[in-house]
């Protein structure tokens, strides 16, 4: 599994009272204060596109997307590169998964805590999508899925200790290698971040 391009999407628990527009000033604020472990560059506004990426925070190593694809709002973390010094130590797939989870969860946590969003956001820690955004190194095949699972399952066991974790291969022919991860019991972002540490 020789790719660094992983995507992780955490869904919002209840998106009914949330407008995409609200994320624009928050992301600009993050750029102003360089809030994350990334070089934050720009905000792309795609609110006009139905079922689209909504609002995107463009960083050098990743994109942070308030994503409405599949008509479910959530935070999509899409890693593109690994140039930030904090990623120098990544050697194994497990290291990389841990790093990707850390970045995505940190962004969820900071969004939930941002004063402009008034504590209305709650991300589901027990339902997420993991995707390999690399059709060459991680094609959407059973073999690649099996290989991913070899790394993913032990990692998920540390994140959800003692819990039943469902991992489902989404097999649409043309999509990228994607797995849906579900845990029956609700779990919040803070707990996951603590376990990750």
């Amino acid at each position: 599994m020789d790719t660094l391009k992983y995507e992780l999407k955490f869904f919002l628990d209840d998106a009914s009272g949330v407008e995409l527009e609200e994320f624009i000033p928050v992301f600009h604020d993050w750029i102003q204060t360089q809030q994350l472990e990334e070089l934050l560059i720009d905000v792309a506004d795609y609110r006009h596109v139905p079922q689209g990426p909504g609002v995107v925070l463009i960083a050098h190593d990743a994109h942070y997307v308030m994503d409405l694809t599949d008509e479910r709002l959530g935070l999509l973390y899409s890693r593109r590169r690994e140039t930030h010094p904090s990623r120098c130590a990544i050697e194994t797939v497990e290291d990389r998964l841990k790093s990707v989870w850390h970045c995505a969860l940190t962004a969820c946590q900071r969004l939930a805590a941002h004063p402009a969003l008034h504590g209305r956001l709650q991300f589901r820690g027990n339902e997420l999508l993991l995707r390999c955004n690399d059709r060459l190194q991680a094609p959407n095949t059973t073999a690649a899925y099996d290989e991913l699972c070899q790394h993913l399952e032990p990692f998920l066991a540390t994140l959800y200790p003692g819990q039943r974790v469902e991992v489902e291969h989404i097999c649409e022919h043309t999509s990228r290698l994607t797995v849906a991860i579900k845990v029956p019991e609700p779990l919040d972002v803070d707990t996951l971040l603590t376990r990750l540490a």
Binding site: P25, H28, I31, I41, A44, D45, Y46, P50, Q137
Partner: protein
């Protein structure tokens, strides 16, 4: 450890050898630039000619609403052009000649948008696609994947022949003279990379239209505009084109002028080539603002320009490609895959009816229709693009075309399939009605991504679109067909000059602050192939533009006489009254009173002009000789790699070819039509540069020229590794001498 599979390996054999080599060359140039071995401007133009553009904030700075912040990109000071940081996200433009796409290409575009961009494919006003936020190091693989499905990004930017656009209804239009598709295809690929199109001072845009009256082709705003025309000669109907030249928008719009009323089809390519040669030879090269063809024609006058072009035509060396395509004109035809049919009886659901009225066009072929898929602001998600490819496969064999109104069309749809097709589009989030209506706004990227953007054209377009859709039921029927076009600056990429209601971004200083504004342009005309340009009326703060729209459309609905067009209405109403209608909207409240005016649409930062950069639309003026010399350097570099890998025979021949390439580049200073034959190049070089002593080094005399002659005479026989290494070193010295000679010639020229 196994070697990681690369796209280069994976796609070997799937690309044409020419494109494969071309992209490999680009890959090497990227490596050379990383090593600092290519001149900044040459590399910038090299990437631009492959559609690799800069983007806002690529100078490493961004105004965050409070102050200018440095963006410390990981590669430090490494650049990809003047003031353009290596790591900065960039834009990849992808040429789609006449907008023609197949399903496999659509799927590839979707894949690339997901893997290298932000999952959005953006359709431009010239039928291209653009992917934004792309890293330069991803571009070679991106190009390989496109090339594997028959798309090239070559000459998508830079001072070259840009995408050749064409009416998306070609072949199915009820009013066209004939299908322009095969001619647009032939001209696009004939001029692509042609030696006569490599030395322009500015870009060159070409458009085809099947008729004179509609707005699909916009030929009169192009450098070269071609309208299908037929003529009866000796009882036979001959195909040809009305041949227009010198149109263009930009800050100073010009209507194209008629060069020839009827150019027979077999003369189309050579006459276009002759125009290119005259433009390359006489067009302005130093002052970019005056370098488009329109300025040359304005300077010479159309009669003199015509004389020069026709004279050039007579001396053109014959090329078989001029007419070869005429034997296979039907090769580009779309064929229906389902039987034509009739739309089932009414009643249909209201949403379908509304969509049918605005988005469906009955083809001249009975039983078939063209369906417009409306893309808000020209954007389609990767997932939607893939869904659309599947829909196209289901209903028309997998064909689509982009339009200059930034939409996509599906042709050859059986009318019986329309309800099912509509349901599929709705499921994909693509079922929006309102094609070619007020809500279907044309817009350039503006401050979202363009370095030249002054105001947020996309932010304004999104806002207006939302309000128009909300008001749709209350809008007067006369208002709905009006078109709105918005540019982020005066350069007119959003084509504001030809809109009923156009806007372009400007700014105004109010107290100590700057306020985003839009200049209101009224009375343009997109019909008759962009038949008239509108006039600027008044600059209004961005945040009050929605009120401008309401006032203008309300006035038109109220005071329109009979079937008066908006253009006629504007003319009759007069600029003075229109200005007074909008005058109160020009007022900007004080900063302390309402800060909303001091930020742009969709951007909470306090507005600033600090993010504007140096545009790359104009490209870098790099001569053919400079390109040739850069290519020779790359070959010398490759020779070194081959030698390091022990392939001495290939290394020696590559080193020799590098010298030959440098010699050829120098000859092009004096004579453009240089052949590739080595004997010919040696002979020309000897006569022009050796015998004349132009190539003589001030200290070493003829020494470096003799390296070339020696390598040419000696060939490859009996070269041992040491001799090969010596030849590579000689090639390097020869290239350096060629650069020095070129510089001396430039200095002499400057003294004249």
């Amino acid at each position: 450890m196994p070697h990681a599979l690369t796209w280069k390996d994976a796609l070997q054999g799937h690309l044409t050898p020419e494109l494969e080599e071309e992209i490999n060359i680009y890959d090497t140039q990227i490596e050379l630039k990383r090593q600092g071995k290519i001149d900044e401007r040459v590399f910038a133009e090299t990437r631009l000619r492959r559609g690799v553009y800069g983007q806002r904030y690529d100078n490493g700075q961004r105004h965050d609403g409070v102050g200018v912040q440095q963006l410390n990109y990981p590669s430090g000071e490494l650049t990809k052009g003047p003031q353009t940081m290596w790591d900065a996200p960039g834009m990849q433009r992808i040429k789609i000649p006449f907008g023609g796409l197949n399903a496999e290409q659509m799927e590839t575009l979707a894949d690339l948008a997901e893997e290298y961009s932000d999952a959005i494919c953006h359709v431009t006003t010239r039928q291209d696609f653009q992917l934004h936020f792309v890293h330069i190091e991803d571009t070679p693989d991106l190009m390989r994947r496109l090339a594997a499905v028959g798309i090239t990004t070559l000459e998508a930017c830079g001072n070259v022949v840009r995408n050749v656009t064409g009416c998306p209804l070609a072949g199915v239009c009820r009013d066209e003279g004939f299908d322009i598709t095969p001619y647009a295809h032939a001209l696009a690929y004939f001029l692509l990379g042609h030696k006569d199109t490599q030395d322009f001072g500015r870009k060159f845009k070409t458009a085809f239209s099947g008729c004179a009256q509609h707005a699909c082709g916009l030929t009169t705003m192009h450098d070269l505009g071609l309208i299908a025309s037929t003529r009866l000669e000796h009882g036979e109907l001959r195909r040809g084109f009305q041949f227009y030249v010198g149109g263009g928008l930009g800050a100073v719009p010009h209507q194209a002028q008629l060069l020839e009323a009827f150019v027979p089809a077999e003369e189309l390519l050579p006459l276009a080539q002759a125009v290119c040669r005259v433009f390359a030879r006489l067009g302005e090269k130093k002052n970019r603002a005056r370098a488009r063809l329109k300025f040359l024609i304005a300077k010479l006058g159309i009669e003199e320009f015509r004389r020069l072009v026709l004279e050039e035509r007579t001396i053109l060396p014959e090329e078989p490609r001029w007419t070869a395509y005429l034997n296979k004109l039907h090769a580009t035809d779309d064929q229906p895959t389902r039987a034509g049919g009739r739309l089932g009886p009414a009643p249909h659901p209201a949403e379908f009816q509304s969509w049918f009225e605005s988005n469906v066009y009955a083809q001249r072929q009975p039983g078939y229709a063209v369906v417009t898929v409306c893309l808000p602001l020209g954007d389609i998600t990767a997932q939607q693009m893939r869904a659309l490819a599947a829909i196209a496969r289901r209903y028309n064999g997998g064909r689509a075309r982009t339009t200059v109104a930034q939409n996509l069309v599906l042709r050859w749809i059986s009318q019986a399939d329309l309800p099912a097709l509509y349901a599929d589009l709705v499921a994909a989030g693509l079922g929006q009605s309102g094609a070619s209506t007020l809500a279907d706004i044309t817009v350039c990227p503006g401050t979202d991504t363009c370095k030249l953007g002054i105001s947020s054209s996309r932010g304004l377009a999104a806002e207006l679109r939302q309000r128009i859709i909300a008001r749709n039921g209350a809008l007067d029927a006369s208002v709905k067909p009006l078109n709105v076009k918005i540019s982020g600056c005066f350069n007119s990429c959003g084509q504001h000059h030809i809109a009923d209601i156009g806007f372009y971004g400007v700014s105004r200083k109010v107290g100590n602050h700057v306020v985003p504004h839009f200049q209101v342009v009224l009375g343009g005309q997109s019909t008759d192939n962009a038949g008239a340009y509108g006039l600027s009326t008044v600059a209004i703060p961005s945040k009050r533009i929605p009120e401008v729209m309401t006032r203008l459309t309300d006035l038109y609905a109220k005071e329109r006489q009979d079937h008066e067009t908006f253009q006629a209405f504007i003319k009759r109403t007069g600029k003075a009254r229109l200005r007074s209608l909008l005058e109160d909207l020009t007022r900007v409240p004080a900063y302390t009173e309402d800060r909303g005016y001091y930020a742009d649409w969709g951007d909470p930062r306090e507005y600033s002009l600090g993010d504007m950069g140096v545009g790359e639309c104009a490209g870098e003026v790099v001569s053919m000789t400079q390109f040739g010399l850069a290519a020779s350097e790359r070959q010398a570099f490759e020779a070194q790699i081959l030698s390091d890998n022990g392939d001495y025979h290939k290394a020696a021949s590559t080193a020799y070819e590098a010298m030959l390439q440098a010699a050829k580049a120098l000859i092009q200073v004096q004579y453009i039509d240089v052949k590739d034959d080595p004997e010919y190049v040696i002979q020309e070089f000897r006569e022009r540069f050796y015998d004349t002593q132009l190539f003589y080094d001030p200290f070493a005399g003829p020494k470096f020229a003799l390296y070339l002659f020696h390598a040419h005479d000696e060939g490859l026989a009996g070269l041992n590794p040491a001799a090969v290494r010596r030849r590579i070193e000689e090639a390097r010295l020869f290239i350096e001498a060629a650069y020095a000679c070129y510089n001396r010639l430039g200095q002499q020229q400057a003294l004249i």
